[in-house]
Symmetry: C2
Amino acid sequence: MNKVAGKAQGERVMVIDGRVLSMSDCPVRDVLDKISGKWSSLMVFALADGPRRFSELRRLIPDISQRMLTQTLRDLQRDGYLTRTVYPTQPPSVEYRLTDLGRSFLTVLHPFVHWSAENHAAIRAARAAYDEEQG
Amino acid sequence: MNKVAGKAQGERVMVIDGRVLSMSDCPVRDVLDKISGKWSSLMVFALADGPRRFSELRRLIPDISQRMLTQTLRDLQRDGYLTRTVYPTQPPSVEYRLTDLGRSFLTVLHPFVHWSAENHAAIRAARAAYDEEQG
DNA sequence: CTGCATCCCCGCCGATACTG
DNA sequence: CAGTATCGGCGGGGATGCAG
């Protein structure tokens, strides 16, 4: 694997920072595309403190629709960020819990959240300045 | 600001990890929505080593369309990640360069890229397992 | 309580053609 | 070289209703 020299003509590739990134099968995009949805990272964040039930998550994230709550959880489960456990009670209860991968992801998510909060004001200021001089 | 106690009825708020996040004006989402576009983070990454001209960026990222290259650069400029400098030569040349904010963003982007590369295989494996046991 | 099915809107993005 | 303008597909995601 990892053909670097003798690359075929049609193969789309970019070289950045000393790395060779294939555009047709880029790991970063493959991961980013899934986790950059409107609710995915927030969901991982909501499970940081421990397992949660479906209805708990709905209360934690009031703005999410029931449809997107289900779908986001399914997508994260499929990619291995969390597990889904059904308890056959009456009525049924379902528990969602971060996997090791999910907790590992928190180690990069947390700095990002911190950075966003830290630099939010600067970004808003930049927007205002841009919109005034252009516009 | 930062009303925490005595919150109004209609105000949507979530409390996670000891932080109070307003959903109607969430800093993280405000930043993430812009930077999570298909090309934004890749563009910042492409400018990590130094300033680039328009045509250089197009060569570095062959898959991007001219339209999205322009638009992504405009959006990043607006949010303060990069500057745009026009040199009135013939034909004209335009240079894009990361700002301090842009370089600061690299400090959180880089770990994320590293994490993605590191865990890509695990995620693909999780997907395969999920798709097999489910339908 | 925890979903799934359906409808539908809107904004991202690609393709293409044209300009200083 | 470095854009702008226009068209159109497609998919994310919201609203609503039904089910086990």
